[in-house]
Point group: none
Chain length 189, copies 4
Amino acid sequence: MTTEERVREAAVRLFAERGFHGTGIRDLAQAAGLSSATLYHYMGTKEDLLVSIMRTSLTELITQAEAIAARAANETDRLVALVEMHVQAHAEKPRETAVVDGEMRALTGDRRAEIVALRDRYEQIWQDAIVDGVQAGRLNVTEPSVARLALLEMCSGVSRWYSPDGPLKLTDLTIQYGAMALGMLGAAR
Amino acid sequence: MTTEERVREAAVRLFAERGFHGTGIRDLAQAAGLSSATLYHYMGTKEDLLVSIMRTSLTELITQAEAIAARAANETDRLVALVEMHVQAHAEKPRETAVVDGEMRALTGDRRAEIVALRDRYEQIWQDAIVDGVQAGRLNVTEPSVARLALLEMCSGVSRWYSPDGPLKLTDLTIQYGAMALGMLGAAR
Amino acid sequence: MTTEERVREAAVRLFAERGFHGTGIRDLAQAAGLSSATLYHYMGTKEDLLVSIMRTSLTELITQAEAIAARAANETDRLVALVEMHVQAHAEKPRETAVVDGEMRALTGDRRAEIVALRDRYEQIWQDAIVDGVQAGRLNVTEPSVARLALLEMCSGVSRWYSPDGPLKLTDLTIQYGAMALGMLGAAR
Amino acid sequence: MTTEERVREAAVRLFAERGFHGTGIRDLAQAAGLSSATLYHYMGTKEDLLVSIMRTSLTELITQAEAIAARAANETDRLVALVEMHVQAHAEKPRETAVVDGEMRALTGDRRAEIVALRDRYEQIWQDAIVDGVQAGRLNVTEPSVARLALLEMCSGVSRWYSPDGPLKLTDLTIQYGAMALGMLGAAR
DNA sequence: AATGAATGAGAGTTCATTCAT
DNA sequence: TATGAATGAACTCTCATTCAT
């Protein structure tokens, strides 16, 4: 693992555990095994580091979501595939995703706009999936926007509690979430 | 409104908007219209203030949840009533609830233990409701704990986006969430 | 005991235990059973209070020392009587005397000058006693100033350790100090 | 002189002149020619700095006192040598010794216990010297503990007034204190 | 006589960041 | 590549003091 990766990993972990404002540059340096001065060879500002983490994570989610949207056999499958991918990502990379979901308010100015735009783009994919599902008669929701928000919150929460060392296997987790998603969206049985 | 209430309200707002660590004592003072020294006539430490906000909010939720659990006609009603109450609380007091849901990690030591215990007590009420519903054959979930976590995350998310000034009325919101909850828990139709 | 006395007593105790700068106005108020605002009905500034304590204590010492100097039968008696008086004062009022001996540096400007002048006046009485004793052939010291300083430090130290509840009676204490003083000043046997 | 030494020296001087609580961190920084933030590269807390100064000074005194106790020809020599060493230390390092003698009360908790233990160890060496002198018939004191306290106070006072630039040479000072000590302890002539 | 409320200034300490080496 | 040294600004919190009631 390169030093840059160590820095990044330390940042992901600490930002997730303590939040951006709760993490000091010295904490980061110590966790990465460097002096705080050396840290600055591997990053810009603390906020740059946060942005970079978020961009990477969100971009990956978007890429996967777009691939799913492109290849899904039907609207139901598409929705379930999105849920499974999202849940899996939050189960496998709980820290990265928790940072994305929880630290957006720490960003300022243009950086914030950039990340918000990415998030909006990701959410739009979900919005489309739900709207299309409803139009196709496969889903039954009163208000697609409300459903989208509720669904995403439900799935994102996984990063806060799931542990791969616990009794629940990842595949079972995604299956359950897929089922719950279909249920809450009133999918035709 | 008393000065103490102004302090509290300022804290709730800023903690919700910027997070505990992102809120300085001077920000708080300014928002409450006081000097930072005067602030300390109306609070203990910054952390004390956070604890107090959380305790108040969680205690209120627990009180309401226990009342619902005591009076509900059947397991389905009980679950829906919990959802409606929770969603309503998060819609009406989005800042207080967001602080409860998001700033627990900022607490330290005994204070943290106290608040975590309250949260656990609240979640247990939900857990019981789900388990009872399953046993009564009115709900159908694979894993009650997973369902509880998913359900609570879904409902708590409301504080992050709902606005009473938007197109969606509060009653419609709660109805939709009730329906989604029943759907995701596989309620008998 | 009047409130003013309570304030004074609290100040004496706290200044002695923690020092002037180590004692806060809130500590004083609490020790006197008042609010910090009420405190200011019974005193000027914190420094005024210190000056007042010192003035009272030093004036009393000077009065007693002058009486001794006026009535002593001979130079040896005079020296011993000064020692006994000084030791008794430091044993009976350890806090007042400790404040006088230890907090002079906390004073500023004119206040400091006033107290320093009182202390110098007191020390002059001792200086005269030693010089007269030497001239009378009753004492034998190389350098009267050095002897005076050494003697006063020795006697003042009593306030730091003597307890009336301990095994040593006050009369025995003063007798021992008188004997030690004569010894160190080379008194004719 | 290294920066660390400059910090230490500044602290010794200011703590001696104004007391620990009377010295601010910004005073310290200015006296050392640093910003207050930079100060913290060279010390832990302000109290750590105080402890370190005291430990160094007391350890040196103990080392010297133990060496004297080990090599003294007889009980009288031993006592005089202790006095001379102590007086010399207080004359040559008046600030360090004044801090040791006067700021112990500013310490808290374990730090205080550590320093008190060192001081007690040092005083025990004196106590032994006096007791041994009495048993050997070379000293004549009523109460060794009282004599020890009086003697140490007398000698420590030197740091408060002696100046190497004054008329009194250091060797004369120590000789006079040795003579006074023997006198006050009733040494056989 | 008594105090709650108020505050500017300052306390000790840490912040994120820079730079010469 | 790596870091000690450095700092202005900011941190949370307390200071001594005043004043209207």
